[in-house]
Symmetry: C2
DNA sequence: CCAAAAGTGTTGGCTCTACACCCATGA
DNA sequence: TCATGGGTGTAGAGCCAACACTTTTGG
């Protein structure tokens, strides 16, 4: 049997968070896990991941990427289930609704403060986070975590947050701008301070670029 | 059903080659494919890959790494088989013996001159090659493709060969030496020219290091 | 002594990092 | 006018790429 499990990331309350569901039944009942389920006969893996993500969160689309396949026969005591792990990214965590009846509920957790996870999902979490960090450094993947318009400060904070270290504002801006990664929008965001220029990504699809 | 397929690489005749087997039966009968087969009930994925590699080549051990999982239901017209692709690396292609009766035979092919491949194995080949190239740049993975002792020229040629571009000898040597990646051995290799110093890898396990 | 491959340093350009103050607005 | 975050330039250090000749051996 083949299953898919999806590690969903989003920025929420200035933290990198991931979405977990509480299992209603099975051997890991009551534990938290990444949303997932069995692949149907004749179904593409990516389609299965999207279907399960929709069932668990209501999300119609998200950036989706296959991570790794976990096949330890003891990972689920009931049967030998091979699980293909995916990573998903969204820009708006508020778009996530209540999960289907299959689960007790769903909740966002800070990636460094996860509760005990079912099966081998702790390994998946670690793998997904590693992948996200490294892809930030050599692709424009950040587009999937930011809204259509954002300030440069928001863009930079995303990097600082996920990489876990501060960046030099001037150096970072110079580099990013030289790459032509962002497009300056004609309007600004106002607030009780100097208005911030708004940007959007020049490319809304994955591009390999040396960011750092 | 879950299968594993392994893309085996080695340096042979100063070329990067991969090992293919000719299928004896099935819908792709007579075509070439990477060695593989179904995962058994209760078997770990890595173990299945090693078992199938042994059956196809006689190899007892090799560097082995999971690549990607291919799940298109139409990839095998007989049934919906999900295949976990692996990459394997060995230093001595002569150690590969005749494959089991399951296959007509096996042969080494230059990676840029592969025959038409069964199923979606052409995709696997492309993916494996990409992974190998990029891992050469940020790990010491070359240790798995070189014998215990080698000259610096052989080490450098490996890089030039796989990356498809020449390297500056002096700059490359300076960088590699500064990293402490190699250990100088006390003996040399003699020939109709100045004797070459022999080296071995300081670490015989995968390390992440910025090579280029 | 010739062929063949091994081994070795320097310099200029470029890139990267470190660093602190002024600006525009709303209240 | 004050508080808040937004936005900008330079200089020194370190790194990287480009480049060609001498060495050691076997035949």
């Amino acid at each position: 049997m083949v299953a898919v499990d999806t590690v969903l990331f989003a920025i929420k309350d200035d933290r990198l968070k991931t979405y977990l569901v509480e299992l209603r039944g099975g051997p890991a009942r009551g534990k938290w896990a990444f949303p997932g389920g069995l692949v149907r006969a004749g179904e593409m893996l990516d389609d299965a991941a999207r279907r399960e993500l929709r069932a668990s969160t209501g999300l119609g689309d998200a950036y989706l990427e296959q991570l790794f396949t976990f096949g330890d026969p003891s990972r689920d005591p009931r049967a030998h289930v091979v699980s293909v792990a995916y990573m998903a990214l969204i820009s708006d965590p508020a778009a996530v609704g209540r999960p289907s009846e299959k689960y007790v509920g769903g909740e966002w957790f800070e990636v460094n403060e996860l509760p005990p996870l079912a099966y081998d999902h702790a390994q998946m979490a670690a793998y997904a986070l590693k992948r996200l960090k490294s892809k930030l450094e050599y692709t424009n993947i950040a587009y999937a975590l930011l809204p259509k318009e954002f300030t440069f400060a928001e863009f930079e904070e995303l990097y600082a947050l996920i990489l876990g270290r501060p960046l030099d504002r001037r150096n970072f801006r110079r580099r990013v701008m030289a790459m032509g990664l962002l497009r300056l929008l004609p309007h600004t965001r106002r607030g009780p301070h100097r208005p911030a220029a708004l940007y959007s990504f020049a490319q809304q699809s994955l591009k390999f670029i040396q960011m750092l």
